[in-house]
């Protein structure tokens, strides 16, 4: 009897933990979606509402419209700025993901399978660089980017992203390669394949789940970056959504509805990417290779 009670207590505790976690992670997302559909007048209501009382598409209209009204005044549309920042975010995040992925795919392999002096020390240093707080390198990095004329360029932002996310990606890919049986590569060598061919034809297909996980992680990190574009993307040439959206706060008025509508749209690319790539995260790909 006592045991049964404990069992149910355990189950209840587990359910509670899951609930708290869900609230913690999905709560803000729900709040943003809710706000984006809420009438501006209801936003200031003293009654807390978990469902829009007067659902409206007004904020999205303001975001996508050619012109819009704010508090009765005709104001300039935000769409040109928003669409430009959206493209900027997409370009820098995608470029950073592709470059990081390529470098991690080959570099991680080298750290596992090639023997060269100082290999483990070098890897240790690369991983240790993750512990360096970004703020401490911001000023020297800014000087460097100025002298390279890379401020406010896609290349500059992408390079910074790659340098920031590559250590983790290398670490991930290294563990992925470590878990693959070396006999498969040896079999390919004896079959007449060279190193690079073996990596591309035999190893990478088997490392695909790791590559996809690395791609998702890198894209999400780049997409969510705020500090780097804030410092290195001063104009709309490369400014990202993360920097643009908070600028909807004006001197007199915080347009919560517009900010949240923009935020909801900004959530879509990473969500779509994860859903799309997740299909390729095939489990058990390695099954049947050995034994």
């Amino acid at each position: 009897m006592r045991k049964l009670t404990l069992h149910y207590l355990g189950r209840a505790g587990f359910a509670l933990a899951v609930l708290v976690l869900l609230l913690w992670s999905l709560g803000p997302v729900y709040w943003a979606v809710l706000t984006s559909f809420t009438d501006p007048r209801d936003m200031l209501s003293e009654h807390l509402s978990l469902w829009p009382q007067h659902p409206t598409l007004e904020h999205f209209a303001k975001l996508f419209g050619a012109s819009s009204a704010s508090q009765g005044n005709e104001v300039q549309s935000v769409w040109p700025q928003f669409s430009r920042a959206f493209v900027n975010s997409l370009v820098t995040s995608a470029a950073a993901t592709l470059v990081t992925l390529a470098a991690a795919a080959f570099g991680g392999y080298a750290f596992v399978r090639l023997r060269f002096p100082g290999r483990d020390l070098l890897f240790g240093l690369v991983v240790a660089s993750m512990a360096v707080p970004a703020y401490t390198v911001m000023i020297p990095l800014y000087r460097l980017m100025i002298s390279l004329h890379l401020i406010d360029t896609y290349l500059g932002v992408t390079l910074i992203y790659v340098s920031a996310f590559l250590p983790l990606a290398l670490w991930l890919m290294r563990s992925v390669y470590q878990s693959l049986p070396v006999a498969l590569e040896e079999a390919a060598w004896l079959d007449g394949a060279g190193r690079t061919y073996t990596l591309v034809r035999i190893v990478l297909p088997l490392a695909a789940p790791g590559l996809i996980a690395t791609a998702i992680l890198t894209f999400l990190s780049a997409w969510g970056q705020f500090m780097v574009p804030l410092v290195f993307s001063p104009s709309l040439a490369t400014k990202s959504l993360t920097v643009l959206i908070p600028e909807f706060v004006t001197r007199n008025y915080v347009d919560y509805g517009l900010m949240n509508a923009a935020g909801v749209v900004a959530m879509l690319p990473p969500v779509l990417l994860v859903i799309f790539l997740n299909r390729f995260l095939v489990r058990g790909l390695i099954a049947g290779a050995t034994k």
């Binding site: 049986p181 040896e186 079999a187 060598w189 004896l190 035999i202 049947g288 034994k291």
Partner: protein
């Protein structure tokens, strides 16, 4: 046509030597087994021949050409791995055709070669399957097919049967041997199973601690083991070893064991009073009187293992544990005291100090 000649081959991992100077000559078309306990260096030797391990010193020679520094892909040597190492993302046909594809053979020729090899191995119905949809024995066959399809100079096998169940193992060892005879390709086969080595090989290479203990035809190695290691490693149940002291009398030698003397019927070239080890195979012991010059050992039965055809009877002679392979008609009881008999000419004699064979 492929001969493999290995001279003074050494391998160190850092400061640790694993092969201490291996000399071995393998003739064209021979099936050679490297056999020994795990850690004896047999797999390392095989991997050095494949080019997967570097050579510390010495030479590996394929058809008169030293291949120490030739990369594995250019050696034209095929290897069957212990865990098969099939490419999991390729079908059986793609696995088998991979090497031909790399050689830029035409798709039609690859297809033909793969189909022929598959027919040879009974894999014709599985060409479109992925490795995960195959049984252990079928995967084993695909691994073999991948090696056969390219007609390499040499086949290397690294304990290819150790993951199969006992029945399949016997079947596959017959298949491998038949296939190798038919193709006439030189084969080097690593195993820890002395039964596989005995049954399959033209030449058996017994290794221990990074050295070759003996090279010879299986029956020769069985009949005349060169030293105590080979004597106990080859044969199951293992050879009985009984310690004694050598004596000479009227030009003939005898061994004093406990209180009794066992005549050798021949002269052993070693100083009198030298400690020696007598080796007798279990099947050379019986209850019935032996022919010719006979010896007897007092024996007390501890344990009887019936295997069907015969029974392995374990017990004590003096203070030494021995085993005899007896007919199951010899109706023995546990604890029974009997005398085991054998022919003196079946006794192997080893120097206790060096372990080397004495005659």
């Amino acid at each position: 046509m492929a001969t493999v000649t290995i001279q003074k081959l050494r391998k160190n991992y850092g400061a640790i030597p694993v092969l201490h100077g291996i000399d071995l000559a393998i003739a064209d078309g021979q099936f050679v087994s490297l056999v020994g306990a795990s850690g004896c260096g047999k797999s390392t030797l095989l991997r050095m021949i494949a080019g997967l391990e570097s050579v510390t010193a010495g030479t590996i020679d394929l058809n008169g050409r030293v291949i120490n520094d030739v990369s594995p892909k250019d050696r034209d040597i095929a290897m069957v791995f212990q865990n098969y190492a099939l490419y999991p993302h390729m079908t059986v046909a793609q696995n088998m055709g991979f090497s031909l594809h790399l050689r830029k053979e035409s798709p039609a020729r690859i297809d033909q070669a793969v189909k022929e090899t598959a027919a040879l191995l009974g894999l014709s119905n599985y060409l479109d399957r992925y490795p995960k949809a195959l049984s252990g024995g079928q995967r084993q066959r695909v691994a073999m097919g991948r090696a056969i399809v390219r007609h390499p100079q040499v086949f290397l096998f690294d304990e290819p049967l150790s993951n199969l169940d006992a029945k399949l193992r016997v079947q596959m060892r017959i298949e491998i041997r038949t296939l190798q005879r038919r193709l006439g390709t030189t084969a080097i086969y690593v195993t820890h199973d002395q039964m596989e080595a005995m049954t399959m090989s033209d030449l058996i290479v017994v290794m221990n601690g990074g050295r070759i203990e003996q090279v010879g035809a299986p029956i020769d190695v069985y009949d005349r083991p060169a030293n105590l290691f080979v004597a106990t490693f080859i044969g199951s149940p293992a050879m009985n070893l009984i310690e004694g002291v050598l004596e000479h009398e009227q030009g003939l030698s005898q061994v004093r064991v406990g209180g009794q003397r066992i005549a050798m019927g021949r002269r052993i070239d070693l100083a009198a009073a030298a400690p020696v080890v007598m080796g007798i195979r279990p099947e050379h012991l019986a209850l019935a009187p032996a022919q010719g010059l006979e010896f007897t050992l007092p024996f007390k039965v501890d344990l009887i293992e019936p295997t069907g055809a015969e029974s392995h009877v374990y017990g004590q002679t003096g203070s030494t544990s021995i085993v005899a392979a007896l007919s199951r008609k010899d109706d023995l009881q546990l604890g029974q005291a009997v005398h085991l008999r054998g022919q003196c000419e079946h006794i192997h004699l080893f120097d206790k100090a060096t372990g080397a064979r004495l005659d």
